[in-house]
Symmetry: C2
Subunit: 713 residues, 2 copies
């Protein structure tokens, strides 16, 4: 679909120039120098020829077919240029200029006009506000960047600087390179998910490396990512997590559900490897595109001496990896080849055993990788430096070890990662490691993170289930009662459902809501209470009073006729004092919930991802410790379970201090039910079940709030 | 004190050799090559001369004075060699050999013997099990490592590999170097704190860089660190935090107080900059030894384009730094020199304004550093690369900018840190930055961390109070009652005080303990309860029943004669069933504590640091979330306050959902009281106040446990 854009057979450069510092010159020079295999058409009404190529006054004047136009002219010229592109039948355009949506309302208008024109002619747009794109295999370098190494990583970024950083790293610290680079810019037309789809289908791309600041269609991207990550790894750094002023949302849940938290969880669920430290971004792509993912989370460490191994063990443990003791057989095998002072447990310390012959590293690696519980090998410290430190002849033995280990990775299907403090001195042995796809770094942290991403990707692939979905089946499971309740509220011009309505809606999907009754007099309330037996709660019912407690509209733990009747009267009095004009529908009488663990479930509609859900333990846990988990809806039973498990306070539900466990199963069902409700009624903007009390058996939805979207939105 | 060891005027090499691969050869060659300014005496009974120097059969045969002996012979020879050193009057010895304490009981015995011999003759020992030491200014390189750069950082490590890593980094990534390197080894004689004291007094050392795996005398080290960090920064990485099998301690507190947590907090309190990521260790020392500490936590970011600035803002925010909007005046100043598209808020984006003249970076820096709220400037992205990317002539302007900025740092006393993706290409401008002490790195994370350590050190120096102390005034504040209680328990051969004894001891130091009474019959218990008014708690009192609840020895919320009497009988029955042989002293009657926030305070005696204290919110907060804080005792009022504040759950004490606040002041006093109690009775091993209930006014110590050290320990 994007082939004629990203694999264009001919390029017109609009704004071509003879001035060396201009982009319209540099691009043509680069295309010529790097021997782009398509046709190049300079476009500039003031010139006859540029760099020996015939120059055209406008695109429509070109005789041959034009796949792609690189437009280097200012923003305001764009509508006219695109009209001309349209006449010519150009398939795609790269718009370099800034001055569009990123500058405010006026720019946004211009951007909309440009997109409209492009759509009219079926022209696909990259940018605007981009550094451009490069197709390495066709030598189509529209950025003018020198020395971009060719390889199997597709680079997709929203910052030209970050592209430059990553390309520089590839060039100076690895043997890797790129299949494509695309600067996404404002994402005005072609969106992240479309590029991703293209790279998924590109046989020469083995991994996708992304830097993202914002995203227009998060849900479509998730869907595409989910399809892609099964076939090739996607590594992503999302910046802007510190951005002040998160959209303040009225509801409790809204305030907690920060965009980046939702994004992170959703991306991971789609199998994307999320990186938070920019230093680890390129190395992660290097490791994932070169090495097999790990089959378990167990790492064996091989070192010469202490220090590095100790630190690596700390870092790997922090990253959630295990450093198990090696099998007896493995230990015996190591003992045979290492001196007596060596440690053969894990980390393995050769204790100077490699001083005379560093090819012993390969022998150790072979024995260690043979251990079935070992998922990967991390070599730390001095490898690559024996030749530098001691005698040059040792270099040759290190090279031998590199050859052996490189082949070992392929044979065993287990990754090896090397940390060497000599990496910067560029010994040939370390370059050989890289030739075989073994990443080498002088950073212990990066080496450990490389292992961690290989483990994470392996775990994702193993746990992959075909049932995850990022599409909503809107309305399919809606109930008659639910539709009726929403229609009723709409008819009254209300966006907030009454508590009793919200609970009835949930109940129509199978939620166990206590036998509540609406009473419209003290006597009715007392009768209802008596029928329930045990203490009750009274709550005001009024579309005009949303914050019932603030209005003195809630009385709890009431027992006996007298208490109930007096509470009824008090509530009515308070409500009228709070809002004399309030439309009061009565008082809701509910049985007091048994004791249990308070939790809170909320859903809202995210700008980028649509319906999302939040779960957390109630009270201080959520308010002070922000101990919550998020998911993009819909969720599977497995996701619901994981949402509960991944909160820090999860052990409380298992029962502390010898208590019996709380009914986690009922909670899982309730999360699924919330997912179903959101999927059933596209009209719902957000929902808040707060608190829900989980008992040892079953649970009670104590309060429920449902807010509809603005009508017509 | 260590001068004759670390600044030795003459060195004897025991185990000198003619074999090139031997340490006894390499050391002498290095001393000769690097022109050590003292005398060198090879010692080997089998040789007459080595490398042109006269060789002696033993140390005592040397005519001249010998300050230091480097001993390269095996472990078992050490006692005899040291005897000979003693005869000669040698002042210090570096013992390279392993095979001592680190290998087990036998080695530990040998190590003890060696230390004993050394003490007999007043010989100070470095090691054993060390890679050696280097005194750079005297060219006394006893490690045989090549190309160690000279400079103002003292390097103190417990891993030769980490020393090699840090020295390699200094050489390849900075213009910095070292005043000393000491491999601490087993710390058999000279301890960390003694080296630190020496480096504090050394005028040529501006910062101390440490890698630590374990430490023998933590408290002395803290004291010395506390004195040192006022004068020069100390940067430290402690590894081994993942070590499985933390010493399991019997008490609840013990299980939580992991050694490394105590160490980290204590080190920070002594002003040490703790580093967790080994990649950041050398850069932190570089920044701290070259730049002034920050006067506030505000950072200004200067960039050309997005991406890097966004990421830096994220990372700095995570590190606790602020990125405030710049003053109106500053913004106006920037607007004057930058193009209209530039952003002048913060991060400042020159938006290509430096393309034609990158010396504009210096102009921007000048304006930004003039802003009084700006504590430091971080330049990210492309600086140093304009000459590489565009035209060579731009390099000269970058060099100009480097000169200007270097002087600016000195004039303004504010640090500048540079991130450049061109750092690896080594442009001269970046080397100039380093010449002026401006660190340059291609890692955004390291650049941000450099800023963070400058802020942390600045904050420490500002908040420094002369009152912090790491010495215990044992026994000074002990009470008569306290001594009596402990003596009583000892007389009965008990290590655990009874609850009532523990509370009386606390009470003798001013703790408000409720008016409890010991009852020895149902009637006495009922009388006591009546006198208290309100509900009471009954608890069994027996030195043989430590876990009272498990024994059915606790009954709560008892009201009325009947309930109290029947509870008494039930408790007695349960206790006898639980342990028929138990020595039962009666039942403790206490008033039920009012409601409030449950907290827990524990103290224990740490192997490395002596008495330490732990604080946390009770219940699930401490059990599941491990939300606790630690301090080495004694603590100041300020520390007590910070202990409470630094727990995540601290806001709960401020009162949530409109509650009035809880009595934090009473809690601070109780923490200080616990500090005083631990200082008063060296006999106490550990103490557990669990729970303490904090009320809106005052608090209740519900249960207290005190365990004494083993007698004679």
């Amino acid at each position: 679909m994007l082939t004629s854009v990203l694999d264009a057979a001919s390029v017109a450069v609009v704004g071509a120039s003879k001035v060396e510092t201009k982009r319209g010159y540099q691009t043509i020079r680069t295309l010529l120098n790097e021997k782009y295999d398509g046709d190049i058409y300079p476009v500039n009404p003031k010139e006859n020829s540029i760099l020996g190529l015939k120059c055209y006054p406008k695109i429509s004047a070109i005789e041959g077919a034009v796949d792609l136009a690189l437009i280097a002219t200012p923003a305001k010229t764009l509508p006219a240029v695109l009209e001309d592109c349209g006449k010519k039948g150009v398939k795609g355009a790269v718009i370099l200029a800034g001055g569009f949506g990123e500058t405010g309302a006026e720019g946004r208008q211009l951007e909309d006009r440009v997109v409209e024109t492009a759509r009219k002619f079926g022209i696909r747009l990259i940018g605007p506000n981009t550094s451009g794109m490069i197709n390495l295999k066709r030598h189509m370098n529209l950025v003018g960047m020198k020395d971009v190494p060719i390889g199997d990583i597709a680079l997709l970024t929203q910052s030209g600087n970050m592209a430059l950083t990553l390309i520089t790293e590839a060039r100076l610290k690895s043997r890797k390179g790129f299949s494509y680079y695309v600067g996404v810019g404002n994402e005005a037309d072609i969106r992240f998910h479309e590029y991703l789809e293209f790279f998924r289908q590109d046989p020469e791309t083995r991994a996708v490396l992304m830097y993202v600041e914002g995203m227009r269609q998060g849900r479509e991207f998730l869907h595409q990512a989910y399809k892609t990550t099964r076939e090739k790894p996607v590594v992503l750094l999302k910046s802007g997590r510190s951005a002040k002023g998160k959209k303040s949302a009225g509801s409790h849940t809204g305030a907690l559900a920060g965009i980046s938290e939702v994004a992170k969880g959703a991306f991971q669920r789609a199998g994307i490897i999320m990186i938070e430290n920019s230093d680890q971004l390129f190395p992660a792509a290097e490791a994932l595109s070169s090495l097999p993912p790990m089959k378990n989370n167990n790492v064996a460490i091989l070192a010469d001496g202490g220090g590095h191994a100790t630190i690596a063990a700390d870092v790997l443990t922090d990253l959630g990896l295990a450093i198990p003791e090696l099998d007896k057989k493995t230990q015996d095998g190591l003992k045979k080849i290492l001196p007596a002072a060596a440690s053969v447990v894990n980390p393995v310390d050769v204790a100077g055993g490699t001083d005379a012959d560093p090819s012993l590293f390969a022998d150790c690696a072979r024995v260690m990788l043979k251990d079935s519980q070992v998922g990967a090998l991390l070599i730390v410290g001095l490898f690559g430096g024996y030749g530098i430190r001691f005698a040059e002849s040792l270099s040759l033995m290190e090279e031998d070890a590199a050859h052996q280990m490189g082949k070992m990775v392929r044979q065993k299907g287990k990754p090896i990662v090397v940390h060497s403090l000599f990496s910067r001195e560029k010994p040939h042995s370390l370059d050989l490691c890289r030739y075989y796809g073994i990443p080498v770094t002088d950073s212990l942290d990066i080496a450990c993170k490389n292992i961690a991403v290989l483990a994470e990707y392996g775990e994702y692939l193993r746990s992959y289930r075909a049932q995850a979905s990022f599409f909503m089946n809107w309305g399919v499971k809606a109930t008659q009662a639910g539709r009726y309740i929403i229609a009723g509220a709409r008819a009254e011009g209300r966006r907030a459902l009454l508590e009793i309505e919200a609970k009835q809606l949930l109940s129509s999907h199978g939620a166990a809501v206590p036998g509540e009754r609406l009473a419209s007099s003290p006597i009715e309330a007392a009768e209802a209470a008596e029928a329930m037996g045990g203490p009750v709660v009274l709550k005001i019912v009024s579309p005009d009073i949303l914050h019932k407690s603030d209005a003195g509209g809630v009385k709890v733990n009431l027992a006996g006729q007298k208490q109930v009747q007096s509470a009824y009267r008090q509530i009515m009095k308070n409500a009228k004092a709070y809002n004399p004009a309030a439309d009061i529908r009565g008082v809701l009488v509910s049985p007091m919930a048994q004791r249990g663990v308070e939790v809170i479930i909320g859903t809202k509609t995210d700008d980028q991802f649509g319906p999302v859900i939040m779960y957390g333990l109630g009270g201080v846990m959520v308010e002070i410790l922000k101990d919550v988990s998020f998911r993009v809806l819909p969720i599977s039973r497995r996701s619901a379970r994981k949402m509960i498990e991944e909160t820090k306070s999860a052990p409380i539900l298992a029962g502390v201090r010898g208590e019996p466990p709380y009914d986690k199963k009922a909670l899982v069902e309730l999360l699924l039910l919330c997912s179903e409700v959101m999927e059933s009624y596209p009209e719902i903007e957000e929902m808040d079940l707060n608190p829900v009390i989980v008992h040892h058996e079953g649970l009670s939805i104590v309060d429920a709030r449902i807010i509809l979207k603005e009508e017509g939105s």
